[in-house]
């Protein structure tokens, strides 16, 4: 019986295994990330930020790209994690790793608590409820000045060296190393989850929720777990930002931040795991370069770039890259257009 089963479903199993294996471009990406530490020592502060926003976008990808929940308020978790880590450090406990964990846990808790609100209704409802929660948290943080520093931000955050060895330096070396390692570890976790049976269930829910119900999948439970995990990851990203910059302000809880991470994910291409990372790199670097050329009007060119991108390729930058690769692949094999499958 078992042998029969294995024989009949071998192709599908193989396909899934193949999808889960590491491809050369992926390995190259992470090697480059490590190389950046040595090759671009002057830009590590910027690259740390890219890593943090990449992690944040990855957490959003989990619910948006894989579970199909649209959220305009993901910054609530990011900001909560950021403030948790910041307040902890400000009150004297400057150990980075535990601060990171605290940030992630607090955010996951909020994610779990609000997940039930988010699962009701249509896309627009979800959009607005998530946004509402984020905005409410923003207002609360604004008002409790005594804890959060209000509109002036939380200052006086100083961190102890990581594992007692690496202290945060002015050049951002420790910050970058720390950010990239955390990003990589969480990425590995996310990758595992996506390629697991649970991840497949999530994707099924995104494609056709009713059918998943019919199959007997406990849809609500799956979504709650996904949402909580994503919230925790976002909280980790927020804590990471606070620790690497030793500063946190209301900005991390703002609608603008939620919009920024959504933008980054969409720019990079959702549902591809790397979309968030690529999008973060692209947007932050572009913003940096354009802002340097034209401090007042960089926004215009970014806007035009977005419009152009949408018409050039669907699915963001990853879509563009995949389309280009498919075209090259087809040409290489003597076909005019990419074949299906």
């Amino acid at each position: 019986m078992t042998a029969d089963y294995k024989l009949r479903y071998a192709p599908e199993a193989d396909r899934l295994k193949a999808a889960a294996s590491w491809r050369p471009p992926e390995v190259a990406f992470w090697l480059l990330a490590v190389a950046a530490y040595f090759l671009l020592p002057r830009h590590l502060v910027l690259l740390s930020r890219v890593a943090v926003m990449g992690l944040f976008a990855l957490s959003l990808d989990l619910i948006l790209g894989y579970a199909g929940i649209i959220s305009l308020g993901h910054a609530a978790f990011f900001g909560l994690g950021g403030y948790a880590a910041g307040i902890l450090a400000q009150h004297g406990w400057g150990e980075p790793l535990s601060g990171l964990v605290v940030g992630g846990l607090v955010a996951a808790l909020l994610g779990f608590a609000t997940s039930f609100l988010v699962l009701r209704g249509s896309d627009l409802t979800r959009l607005m409820v998530t946004l509402g929660i984020c905005l409410m948290l923003f207002e609360v943080a604004n008002k409790i000045r005594w804890l959060t520093g209000g509109a002036d931000g939380l200052q006086g955050i100083s961190l102890w060296p990581i594992l007692g060895i690496w202290s945060f330096d002015l050049y951002g070396r420790t910050a970058y190393g720390y950010s990239i390692i955390v990003l990589f570890l969480i990425f590995l976790l996310a990758r595992r989850v996506i390629h697991s049976p649970y991840g497949l269930a999530l994707r099924g829910i995104k494609e056709n929720e009713r059918r998943m119900h019919a199959l007997g999948t406990p849809v609500v439970r799956r979504l709650v777990v996904a949402y909580t995990m994503a919230a925790g990851m976002a909280g980790l990203a927020g804590a990471l930002l606070t620790q690497t910059t030793q500063f946190v302000s209301l900005d991390v809880l703002s609608f603008g931040k939620s919009a920024e991470v959504l933008l980054i994910l969409v720019l990079g291409g959702s549902g591809t795991l790397y979309g968030g990372l690529i999008g973060s790199l692209a947007l932050i670097v572009a913003q940096y370069l354009l802002s340097g050329i034209s401090p007042e009007y960089w926004q215009f060119w970014i806007g035009i770039a977005f419009i152009a991108l949408v018409f050039l390729a669907r699915g963001g930058l990853m879509g563009l890259a995949q389309g280009a690769l498919a075209l090259l692949h087809a040409r290489w094999h003597g076909r005019e257009t990419p074949s299906r499958g």
Binding site: G132, E139, A259, E296, Q299, F306, I307, V310
Partner: protein, 287 residues
Amino acid sequence: MLTVLFDGIASGALLFLLALGLSITLGIMNFVNLAHGAFAMSGGYVAVVLLNRWGVPFLYCLPVAFVVPALAGVVLERTLYVRLYNANPLDQVLFTIGIVFASMATASYFMGSQHQIIQVPPFLHGQFHVLAGFDIGIYRLFLLGLCGLIALFLHLVLMRTRFGSQLRAAVDNGRIARGLGINVNRLFAITFGMGSGLAGLGGALGIEILNLDPVFPVKFLVYFLIVVAVGGTGTVSGPLAAALILGIFDVAGKYYISQIGAFIIYAVMIVVLIWRPQGLFGRRAVH
């Protein structure tokens, strides 16, 4: 107390005018046009240029503030938006945000980044005293009256004309509407244009009250989204009720409990959406 109520209603009326176009766009085309605020902003800037640079009287600026964004809307809809109707909502988001950024930078370049200041005609200045503790601002009264008339007009169009019934059909079920021979594309263009025009008019009327600067589209996007989500799509009365509620709670909240102010409207919105996910007056649309 009554002054606060009146202020809230006037505020809500303006918000209705601004957000109605977004509600219609979402309902009929299932397209979340995050750039809606940009059309409102353009109407405002058109009015500022006419008023401040060319000395056109305020009341004559208003129709122009309607027409220019309306035309821009139709043109953009026919050239760019139409290609994205079947696209992934996320690509639509990217596209509309691109438009927002470009419009904000353009406004900043041509008009500067400070709040625009205009002088409304003297007959719209000041308040008149009705009761003790109840003063009616003349400008706000004018605003309320104008928005009320427009709301009534639109309601009649939607409910009593053939165009209106075609529109409602397209919102209910676009595919079947097409099957019935309704020229849905032309409908899209006209409604998009009108929605943008109304937003532009709202932008012009709002200069006195809301402060016009290049960040306008993003600053008020949240309010527009709340009105659309709470009010539902496909009707005029839905967004109107939602906008009025929002306006009243916002103003009253800031007046009475200024410590939490804006918190109240978000809480109200979440409560309403949990209770009725399709909005207060929304109809479950089939696409």
